[in-house]
Symmetry: C2
Subunit: 210 residues, 2 copies
DNA sequence: CACCATTTAAAACAGCTGTTTAACTCTGGC
DNA sequence: GCCAGAGTTAAACAGCTGTTTTAAATGGTG
Protein backbone atom coordinates (compact mmCIF):
# COMPACT_ATOMS: atom_id res chain seq x y z
CA UNK A 1 0.00 0.00 0.00
CA UNK A 2 1.54 3.28 -1.06
CA UNK A 3 1.79 6.28 1.25
CA UNK A 4 -0.88 8.31 -0.50
CA UNK A 5 -3.19 5.34 -0.25
CA UNK A 6 -2.81 5.04 3.50
CA UNK A 7 -3.12 8.79 4.04
CA UNK A 8 -6.26 9.19 1.96
CA UNK A 9 -7.83 6.02 3.33
CA UNK A 10 -7.41 7.47 6.82
CA UNK A 11 -8.85 10.82 5.71
CA UNK A 12 -11.83 9.12 4.05
CA UNK A 13 -12.66 7.07 7.11
CA UNK A 14 -12.10 9.96 9.52
CA UNK A 15 -14.28 12.30 7.47
CA UNK A 16 -17.24 9.93 7.53
CA UNK A 17 -16.86 8.95 11.18
CA UNK A 18 -16.30 12.48 12.45
CA UNK A 19 -19.41 13.69 10.60
CA UNK A 20 -21.43 10.80 12.01
CA UNK A 21 -20.33 10.87 15.65
CA UNK A 22 -18.16 13.88 16.37
CA UNK A 23 -14.49 14.13 17.18
CA UNK A 24 -14.22 13.00 20.78
CA UNK A 25 -16.65 10.17 20.19
CA UNK A 26 -14.55 8.76 17.35
CA UNK A 27 -11.43 6.87 18.43
CA UNK A 28 -8.31 6.41 16.38
CA UNK A 29 -8.86 2.67 16.60
CA UNK A 30 -12.26 2.98 14.95
CA UNK A 31 -10.81 5.16 12.22
CA UNK A 32 -7.85 2.93 11.46
CA UNK A 33 -9.84 -0.30 11.53
CA UNK A 34 -12.50 0.99 9.13
CA UNK A 35 -9.74 2.40 6.96
CA UNK A 36 -7.97 -0.97 7.06
CA UNK A 37 -4.67 0.49 8.20
CA UNK A 38 -2.55 0.14 11.32
CA UNK A 39 -3.30 2.18 14.41
CA UNK A 40 0.15 3.80 14.46
CA UNK A 41 -0.30 5.12 10.92
CA UNK A 42 -2.30 8.12 12.14
CA UNK A 43 0.41 9.35 14.45
CA UNK A 44 3.05 8.53 11.85
CA UNK A 45 1.43 10.41 8.96
CA UNK A 46 -0.42 13.20 10.77
CA UNK A 47 1.42 13.54 14.08
CA UNK A 48 -1.63 13.55 16.34
CA UNK A 49 -5.39 13.27 16.36
CA UNK A 50 -5.71 17.06 16.42
CA UNK A 51 -3.68 17.35 13.25
CA UNK A 52 -5.77 14.63 11.62
CA UNK A 53 -8.90 16.64 12.39
CA UNK A 54 -7.29 19.70 10.81
CA UNK A 55 -6.25 17.68 7.75
CA UNK A 56 -9.84 16.54 7.25
CA UNK A 57 -10.99 20.17 7.27
CA UNK A 58 -8.15 21.26 5.02
CA UNK A 59 -9.21 18.75 2.36
CA UNK A 60 -12.70 20.26 2.39
CA UNK A 61 -12.01 23.94 2.92
CA UNK A 62 -9.17 24.46 0.45
CA UNK A 63 -11.24 23.46 -2.61
CA UNK A 64 -14.28 25.23 -1.17
CA UNK A 65 -12.65 28.59 -0.56
CA UNK A 66 -10.72 28.29 -3.82
CA UNK A 67 -13.93 27.78 -5.78
CA UNK A 68 -15.64 30.57 -3.83
CA UNK A 69 -12.86 33.02 -4.60
CA UNK A 70 -13.00 32.11 -8.29
CA UNK A 71 -16.78 32.55 -8.31
CA UNK A 72 -16.46 35.96 -6.66
CA UNK A 73 -13.81 36.98 -9.20
CA UNK A 74 -16.17 35.95 -11.99
CA UNK A 75 -19.06 37.95 -10.52
CA UNK A 76 -16.91 41.04 -10.11
CA UNK A 77 -15.44 40.70 -13.61
CA UNK A 78 -18.96 40.61 -15.06
CA UNK A 79 -19.26 44.26 -14.09
CA UNK A 80 -22.80 43.94 -12.78
CA UNK A 81 -23.50 45.35 -9.32
CA UNK A 82 -23.40 42.68 -6.59
CA UNK A 83 -26.75 41.82 -5.05
CA UNK A 84 -27.42 39.94 -1.84
CA UNK A 85 -29.28 37.10 -3.53
CA UNK A 86 -26.51 36.66 -6.07
CA UNK A 87 -23.81 36.47 -3.42
CA UNK A 88 -25.72 33.90 -1.39
CA UNK A 89 -26.40 31.90 -4.54
CA UNK A 90 -22.69 31.94 -5.28
CA UNK A 91 -21.90 30.73 -1.80
CA UNK A 92 -24.40 27.90 -1.92
CA UNK A 93 -23.75 26.90 -5.51
CA UNK A 94 -20.04 26.62 -4.78
CA UNK A 95 -20.73 24.69 -1.59
CA UNK A 96 -22.97 22.30 -3.45
CA UNK A 97 -21.62 21.89 -6.96
CA UNK A 98 -18.02 22.88 -6.41
CA UNK A 99 -17.51 20.25 -3.74
CA UNK A 100 -19.48 17.59 -5.58
CA UNK A 101 -17.35 18.12 -8.68
CA UNK A 102 -14.34 17.24 -6.57
CA UNK A 103 -15.92 14.08 -5.24
CA UNK A 104 -16.65 15.58 -1.83
CA UNK A 105 -20.00 15.19 -0.12
CA UNK A 106 -21.55 18.63 0.59
CA UNK A 107 -23.78 17.40 3.39
CA UNK A 108 -20.82 15.89 5.17
CA UNK A 109 -19.04 19.19 4.68
CA UNK A 110 -21.89 21.02 6.37
CA UNK A 111 -22.03 18.60 9.26
CA UNK A 112 -18.30 19.02 9.81
CA UNK A 113 -18.60 22.79 9.57
CA UNK A 114 -21.34 22.71 12.16
CA UNK A 115 -19.17 20.61 14.42
CA UNK A 116 -16.26 22.99 14.01
CA UNK A 117 -18.40 25.72 15.49
CA UNK A 118 -20.12 23.85 18.26
CA UNK A 119 -17.67 21.22 19.43
CA UNK A 120 -14.99 22.35 21.78
CA UNK A 121 -11.91 22.12 19.65
CA UNK A 122 -10.13 25.40 20.20
CA UNK A 123 -7.26 24.33 17.95
CA UNK A 124 -9.71 23.75 15.09
CA UNK A 125 -11.30 27.18 15.30
CA UNK A 126 -7.86 28.78 15.35
CA UNK A 127 -6.73 26.64 12.41
CA UNK A 128 -9.76 27.57 10.29
CA UNK A 129 -9.61 31.28 11.07
CA UNK A 130 -5.88 31.55 10.35
CA UNK A 131 -6.11 29.54 7.16
CA UNK A 132 -9.41 30.65 5.63
CA UNK A 133 -10.27 33.87 7.46
CA UNK A 134 -9.21 35.95 4.43
CA UNK A 135 -11.83 34.38 2.14
CA UNK A 136 -14.45 34.79 4.82
CA UNK A 137 -13.68 38.46 5.25
CA UNK A 138 -13.77 39.04 1.51
CA UNK A 139 -17.19 37.47 1.19
CA UNK A 140 -18.50 39.34 4.22
CA UNK A 141 -17.15 42.60 2.82
CA UNK A 142 -18.89 42.15 -0.54
CA UNK A 143 -22.11 41.23 1.22
CA UNK A 144 -21.87 44.37 3.35
CA UNK A 145 -21.38 46.47 0.19
CA UNK A 146 -24.59 45.00 -1.20
CA UNK A 147 -26.40 46.20 1.93
CA UNK A 148 -25.59 49.92 2.05
CA UNK A 149 -28.50 50.79 4.31
CA UNK A 150 -27.53 48.47 7.15
CA UNK A 151 -25.21 49.74 9.84
CA UNK A 152 -22.05 47.63 10.43
CA UNK A 153 -22.91 46.18 13.83
CA UNK A 154 -26.40 45.17 12.73
CA UNK A 155 -24.93 43.72 9.57
CA UNK A 156 -22.51 41.50 11.46
CA UNK A 157 -25.18 40.20 13.80
CA UNK A 158 -27.35 39.38 10.81
CA UNK A 159 -24.40 37.71 9.12
CA UNK A 160 -24.21 35.39 12.12
CA UNK A 161 -27.95 34.85 12.00
CA UNK A 162 -27.55 33.84 8.37
CA UNK A 163 -24.61 31.55 9.09
CA UNK A 164 -26.55 29.98 11.94
CA UNK A 165 -29.59 29.33 9.79
CA UNK A 166 -27.41 27.83 7.06
CA UNK A 167 -25.05 25.71 9.10
CA UNK A 168 -27.65 24.53 11.59
CA UNK A 169 -30.19 23.56 8.94
CA UNK A 170 -27.81 21.91 6.53
CA UNK A 171 -25.89 20.02 9.18
CA UNK A 172 -29.17 18.53 10.41
CA UNK A 173 -30.51 18.23 6.88
CA UNK A 174 -31.11 14.49 6.96
CA UNK A 175 -33.01 14.61 10.24
CA UNK A 176 -35.20 17.55 9.19
CA UNK A 177 -35.90 16.05 5.79
CA UNK A 178 -37.00 12.79 7.45
CA UNK A 179 -39.44 14.65 9.72
CA UNK A 180 -40.97 16.65 6.85
CA UNK A 181 -41.28 13.52 4.76
CA UNK A 182 -43.15 11.76 7.53
CA UNK A 183 -45.47 14.68 8.31
CA UNK A 184 -46.19 15.92 4.78
CA UNK A 185 -44.96 13.16 2.51
CA UNK A 186 -42.87 15.87 0.90
CA UNK A 187 -39.66 14.65 -0.63
CA UNK A 188 -37.14 17.48 -0.94
CA UNK A 189 -33.58 17.81 -2.09
CA UNK A 190 -30.61 19.73 -0.81
CA UNK A 191 -30.71 22.12 -3.76
CA UNK A 192 -34.42 22.78 -3.16
CA UNK A 193 -33.63 23.64 0.44
CA UNK A 194 -30.94 26.06 -0.68
CA UNK A 195 -33.48 27.65 -3.04
CA UNK A 196 -35.67 28.26 -0.01
CA UNK A 197 -32.73 29.51 2.00
CA UNK A 198 -31.61 32.20 -0.48
CA UNK A 199 -34.75 34.39 -0.33
CA UNK A 200 -35.27 33.73 3.38
CA UNK A 201 -31.71 34.66 4.34
CA UNK A 202 -31.74 37.64 1.96
CA UNK A 203 -34.90 38.98 3.54
CA UNK A 204 -33.32 38.61 6.95
CA UNK A 205 -30.21 40.53 5.89
CA UNK A 206 -32.13 43.30 4.13
CA UNK A 207 -35.05 43.99 6.44
CA UNK A 208 -35.51 47.62 7.49
CA UNK A 209 -36.62 48.16 11.06
CA UNK A 210 -39.05 50.97 11.63
CA UNK B 1 -24.70 17.79 53.74
CA UNK B 2 -28.34 17.05 53.01
CA UNK B 3 -29.45 15.08 49.98
CA UNK B 4 -30.93 18.04 48.15
CA UNK B 5 -27.68 19.85 48.71
CA UNK B 6 -25.63 17.14 47.05
CA UNK B 7 -28.07 16.73 44.17
CA UNK B 8 -28.25 20.43 43.37
CA UNK B 9 -24.51 20.93 43.83
CA UNK B 10 -23.92 18.24 41.23
CA UNK B 11 -26.48 19.80 38.89
CA UNK B 12 -24.94 23.25 39.33
CA UNK B 13 -21.44 22.04 38.55
CA UNK B 14 -22.56 19.82 35.66
CA UNK B 15 -24.55 22.63 34.08
CA UNK B 16 -21.60 25.01 34.05
CA UNK B 17 -19.07 22.41 32.90
CA UNK B 18 -21.28 20.90 30.20
CA UNK B 19 -21.96 24.36 28.77
CA UNK B 20 -18.26 25.19 28.84
CA UNK B 21 -16.81 21.98 27.40
CA UNK B 22 -19.53 19.65 26.18
CA UNK B 23 -20.73 16.34 27.53
CA UNK B 24 -18.07 13.87 26.45
CA UNK B 25 -15.30 16.29 27.33
CA UNK B 26 -16.56 16.67 30.90
CA UNK B 27 -15.77 13.75 33.20
CA UNK B 28 -17.71 12.76 36.27
CA UNK B 29 -14.55 13.29 38.30
CA UNK B 30 -14.35 16.91 37.17
CA UNK B 31 -18.01 17.44 38.01
CA UNK B 32 -17.86 15.85 41.44
CA UNK B 33 -14.62 17.53 42.45
CA UNK B 34 -15.85 21.03 41.49
CA UNK B 35 -19.12 20.24 43.24
CA UNK B 36 -17.18 19.08 46.31
CA UNK B 37 -18.94 15.75 46.50
CA UNK B 38 -17.87 12.16 46.18
CA UNK B 39 -17.49 10.55 42.76
CA UNK B 40 -20.02 7.83 43.49
CA UNK B 41 -22.70 10.41 44.31
CA UNK B 42 -23.58 10.87 40.64
CA UNK B 43 -24.35 7.21 40.07
CA UNK B 44 -26.08 7.02 43.43
CA UNK B 45 -28.44 9.95 42.89
CA UNK B 46 -28.87 9.95 39.11
CA UNK B 47 -28.06 6.40 38.06
CA UNK B 48 -25.70 7.22 35.22
CA UNK B 49 -24.02 10.07 33.37
CA UNK B 50 -26.74 10.00 30.70
CA UNK B 51 -29.43 10.51 33.30
CA UNK B 52 -27.42 13.34 34.84
CA UNK B 53 -27.33 15.06 31.45
CA UNK B 54 -31.10 14.66 31.16
CA UNK B 55 -31.60 16.01 34.68
CA UNK B 56 -29.61 19.13 33.78
CA UNK B 57 -31.90 19.72 30.81
CA UNK B 58 -34.99 18.99 32.83
CA UNK B 59 -34.10 21.70 35.33
CA UNK B 60 -33.89 24.19 32.47
CA UNK B 61 -36.64 23.07 30.16
CA UNK B 62 -39.44 22.52 32.65
CA UNK B 63 -39.51 26.15 33.86
CA UNK B 64 -38.89 27.38 30.33
CA UNK B 65 -41.74 25.51 28.66
CA UNK B 66 -43.98 26.21 31.64
CA UNK B 67 -43.38 29.95 31.35
CA UNK B 68 -43.80 29.79 27.58
CA UNK B 69 -47.14 28.00 27.85
CA UNK B 70 -48.34 30.59 30.38
CA UNK B 71 -47.22 33.42 28.10
CA UNK B 72 -49.03 31.87 25.14
CA UNK B 73 -52.17 31.45 27.24
CA UNK B 74 -51.96 35.12 28.19
CA UNK B 75 -51.56 36.20 24.56
CA UNK B 76 -54.50 34.11 23.45
CA UNK B 77 -56.68 35.29 26.35
CA UNK B 78 -56.02 38.91 25.35
CA UNK B 79 -58.15 38.23 22.28
CA UNK B 80 -55.83 40.10 19.92
CA UNK B 81 -54.79 38.26 16.74
CA UNK B 82 -51.37 36.61 17.07
CA UNK B 83 -48.60 38.19 15.03
CA UNK B 84 -45.22 36.72 14.15
CA UNK B 85 -43.25 39.43 15.94
CA UNK B 86 -45.34 39.02 19.06
CA UNK B 87 -44.82 35.27 19.18
CA UNK B 88 -41.07 35.56 18.74
CA UNK B 89 -40.98 38.26 21.40
CA UNK B 90 -42.85 35.94 23.74
CA UNK B 91 -40.40 33.17 23.05
CA UNK B 92 -37.36 35.33 23.65
CA UNK B 93 -38.76 37.24 26.59
CA UNK B 94 -39.60 33.98 28.34
CA UNK B 95 -36.18 32.53 27.51
CA UNK B 96 -34.49 35.61 28.88
CA UNK B 97 -36.57 36.92 31.75
CA UNK B 98 -38.42 33.77 32.71
CA UNK B 99 -35.24 31.83 33.27
CA UNK B 100 -33.45 34.70 34.97
CA UNK B 101 -36.31 35.08 37.40
CA UNK B 102 -35.72 31.50 38.44
CA UNK B 103 -32.01 32.04 38.95
CA UNK B 104 -31.05 30.26 35.73
CA UNK B 105 -28.53 31.70 33.27
CA UNK B 106 -30.16 32.17 29.84
CA UNK B 107 -26.88 32.11 27.93
CA UNK B 108 -25.96 28.81 29.52
CA UNK B 109 -29.39 27.57 28.59
CA UNK B 110 -28.78 28.48 24.97
CA UNK B 111 -25.37 26.87 24.91
CA UNK B 112 -26.84 23.68 26.30
CA UNK B 113 -29.68 23.79 23.82
CA UNK B 114 -27.19 24.18 21.00
CA UNK B 115 -25.26 21.22 22.32
CA UNK B 116 -28.39 19.12 22.53
CA UNK B 117 -28.85 19.58 18.81
CA UNK B 118 -25.29 19.18 17.63
CA UNK B 119 -23.65 16.75 20.01
CA UNK B 120 -24.31 13.12 19.39
CA UNK B 121 -26.45 12.19 22.33
CA UNK B 122 -29.34 10.27 20.84
CA UNK B 123 -30.82 9.64 24.27
CA UNK B 124 -30.95 13.40 24.91
CA UNK B 125 -32.80 14.22 21.71
CA UNK B 126 -35.32 11.48 22.47
CA UNK B 127 -35.71 12.71 26.04
CA UNK B 128 -36.36 16.30 24.99
CA UNK B 129 -38.79 15.42 22.22
CA UNK B 130 -40.83 13.07 24.39
CA UNK B 131 -40.90 15.49 27.32
CA UNK B 132 -41.27 18.87 25.68
CA UNK B 133 -42.39 18.13 22.12
CA UNK B 134 -45.96 19.15 22.95
CA UNK B 135 -44.99 22.73 23.84
CA UNK B 136 -42.83 22.94 20.75
CA UNK B 137 -45.69 21.82 18.50
CA UNK B 138 -48.07 24.28 20.11
CA UNK B 139 -45.72 27.20 19.52
CA UNK B 140 -45.02 26.08 15.94
CA UNK B 141 -48.76 25.75 15.30
CA UNK B 142 -49.50 29.28 16.50
CA UNK B 143 -46.63 30.65 14.44
CA UNK B 144 -47.96 28.86 11.37
CA UNK B 145 -51.41 30.40 11.96
CA UNK B 146 -49.80 33.83 12.00
CA UNK B 147 -48.34 33.09 8.55
CA UNK B 148 -51.39 32.13 6.49
CA UNK B 149 -49.73 32.80 3.15
CA UNK B 150 -46.84 30.40 3.65
CA UNK B 151 -47.29 26.78 2.58
CA UNK B 152 -46.61 24.16 5.30
CA UNK B 153 -43.38 22.71 3.95
CA UNK B 154 -41.85 26.12 3.35
CA UNK B 155 -43.00 27.16 6.81
CA UNK B 156 -41.26 24.26 8.49
CA UNK B 157 -38.03 24.82 6.65
CA UNK B 158 -38.12 28.47 7.69
CA UNK B 159 -38.91 27.46 11.24
CA UNK B 160 -35.65 25.50 11.25
CA UNK B 161 -33.83 28.45 9.67
CA UNK B 162 -35.16 30.59 12.53
CA UNK B 163 -34.20 28.06 15.18
CA UNK B 164 -30.74 27.76 13.63
CA UNK B 165 -30.20 31.50 13.62
CA UNK B 166 -31.36 31.75 17.23
CA UNK B 167 -29.59 28.79 18.76
CA UNK B 168 -26.38 29.23 16.79
CA UNK B 169 -26.07 32.92 17.54
CA UNK B 170 -27.02 32.80 21.18
CA UNK B 171 -24.94 29.75 21.99
CA UNK B 172 -21.89 31.53 20.56
CA UNK B 173 -23.02 34.86 21.96
CA UNK B 174 -19.92 35.52 24.05
CA UNK B 175 -17.55 34.79 21.17
CA UNK B 176 -19.47 36.93 18.67
CA UNK B 177 -19.86 39.77 21.14
CA UNK B 178 -16.10 39.75 21.78
CA UNK B 179 -15.34 39.98 18.05
CA UNK B 180 -17.76 42.86 17.49
CA UNK B 181 -16.38 44.68 20.50
CA UNK B 182 -12.85 44.40 19.16
CA UNK B 183 -13.75 45.44 15.60
CA UNK B 184 -16.27 48.20 16.32
CA UNK B 185 -15.87 48.95 20.00
CA UNK B 186 -19.58 48.22 20.22
CA UNK B 187 -20.74 46.91 23.52
CA UNK B 188 -23.99 45.02 23.20
CA UNK B 189 -26.24 43.05 25.48
CA UNK B 190 -28.16 39.85 25.10
CA UNK B 191 -31.49 41.67 25.08
CA UNK B 192 -30.23 44.04 22.37
CA UNK B 193 -29.28 41.05 20.27
CA UNK B 194 -32.74 39.58 20.73
CA UNK B 195 -34.21 42.93 19.64
CA UNK B 196 -32.21 42.56 16.44
CA UNK B 197 -33.25 38.96 16.08
CA UNK B 198 -37.02 39.53 16.26
CA UNK B 199 -37.38 41.66 13.10
CA UNK B 200 -34.70 39.68 11.23
CA UNK B 201 -36.28 36.30 11.97
CA UNK B 202 -39.78 37.68 11.32
CA UNK B 203 -38.73 38.93 7.90
CA UNK B 204 -37.27 35.54 7.12
CA UNK B 205 -40.48 33.77 8.10
CA UNK B 206 -42.76 36.19 6.23
CA UNK B 207 -40.93 36.82 2.97
CA UNK B 208 -42.93 36.23 -0.20
CA UNK B 209 -41.02 34.74 -3.09
CA UNK B 210 -41.95 35.97 -6.50
C1' DC C 1 21.70 -7.03 -6.59
C1' DA C 2 22.35 -4.50 -2.37
C1' DC C 3 21.50 -0.47 0.07
C1' DC C 4 18.84 2.65 2.92
C1' DA C 5 15.09 5.54 3.90
C1' DT C 6 10.24 5.11 4.09
C1' DT C 7 6.43 2.70 5.63
C1' DT C 8 3.93 -0.86 8.21
C1' DA C 9 3.23 -3.86 12.08
C1' DA C 10 2.37 -5.61 16.89
C1' DA C 11 2.81 -4.64 21.44
C1' DA C 12 3.16 -2.04 25.34
C1' DC C 13 2.66 2.50 27.68
C1' DA C 14 0.54 5.51 31.15
C1' DG C 15 -3.52 7.73 31.99
C1' DC C 16 -8.25 8.47 32.01
C1' DT C 17 -13.19 6.84 31.61
C1' DG C 18 -17.95 5.41 33.84
C1' DT C 19 -19.42 2.23 37.11
C1' DT C 20 -19.53 -0.88 41.18
C1' DT C 21 -18.37 -2.56 45.61
C1' DA C 22 -18.19 -2.80 50.49
C1' DA C 23 -17.41 -0.48 54.56
C1' DC C 24 -18.63 3.49 57.00
C1' DT C 25 -21.39 7.57 59.04
C1' DC C 26 -25.31 9.81 60.00
C1' DT C 27 -30.20 10.69 60.99
C1' DG C 28 -35.19 10.02 61.98
C1' DG C 29 -38.67 6.95 64.16
C1' DC C 30 -39.83 3.83 67.84
C1' DG D 1 -30.87 4.48 73.32
C1' DC D 2 -31.15 1.77 69.52
C1' DC D 3 -31.77 0.29 65.05
C1' DA D 4 -33.04 0.43 60.07
C1' DG D 5 -32.25 2.86 56.08
C1' DA D 6 -30.47 6.68 53.51
C1' DG D 7 -26.27 8.87 52.36
C1' DT D 8 -21.35 9.10 51.92
C1' DT D 9 -16.72 7.48 51.33
C1' DA D 10 -12.38 5.38 49.45
C1' DA D 11 -10.91 1.83 46.70
C1' DA D 12 -11.00 -1.10 43.03
C1' DC D 13 -12.97 -2.59 38.56
C1' DA D 14 -12.61 -3.48 33.57
C1' DG D 15 -12.26 -1.13 29.50
C1' DC D 16 -10.96 2.35 26.49
C1' DT D 17 -8.06 6.47 25.15
C1' DG D 18 -3.96 8.72 22.36
C1' DT D 19 0.74 7.94 21.90
C1' DT D 20 5.34 5.63 21.69
C1' DT D 21 8.51 1.98 21.03
C1' DT D 22 10.84 -1.59 18.72
C1' DA D 23 11.13 -4.51 15.04
C1' DA D 24 10.01 -6.15 10.55
C1' DA D 25 8.88 -5.42 5.78
C1' DT D 26 8.76 -2.76 1.68
C1' DG D 27 10.15 -0.29 -2.49
C1' DG D 28 12.81 2.83 -5.20
C1' DT D 29 17.88 4.05 -6.30
C1' DG D 30 22.85 3.51 -7.04
Amino acid sequence: MSQTDTVSRILDAAEVLFAERGFTETSLRTITSTAGVNLAAVNYHFGSKKELIQAVFERFLTPFTGALEAELDRRIASGQPLRVEGLLESLYRVGLGGLRARGLDPQRFMRLLGLAYTQFQGHLRRFIVSRYGESYRRFAGLLAEALPGVDPVTFYWRLYFMLGATIFTLSSYDAIEAILKEDFGAQSSLSETLERLVPAASAMLKVEVG
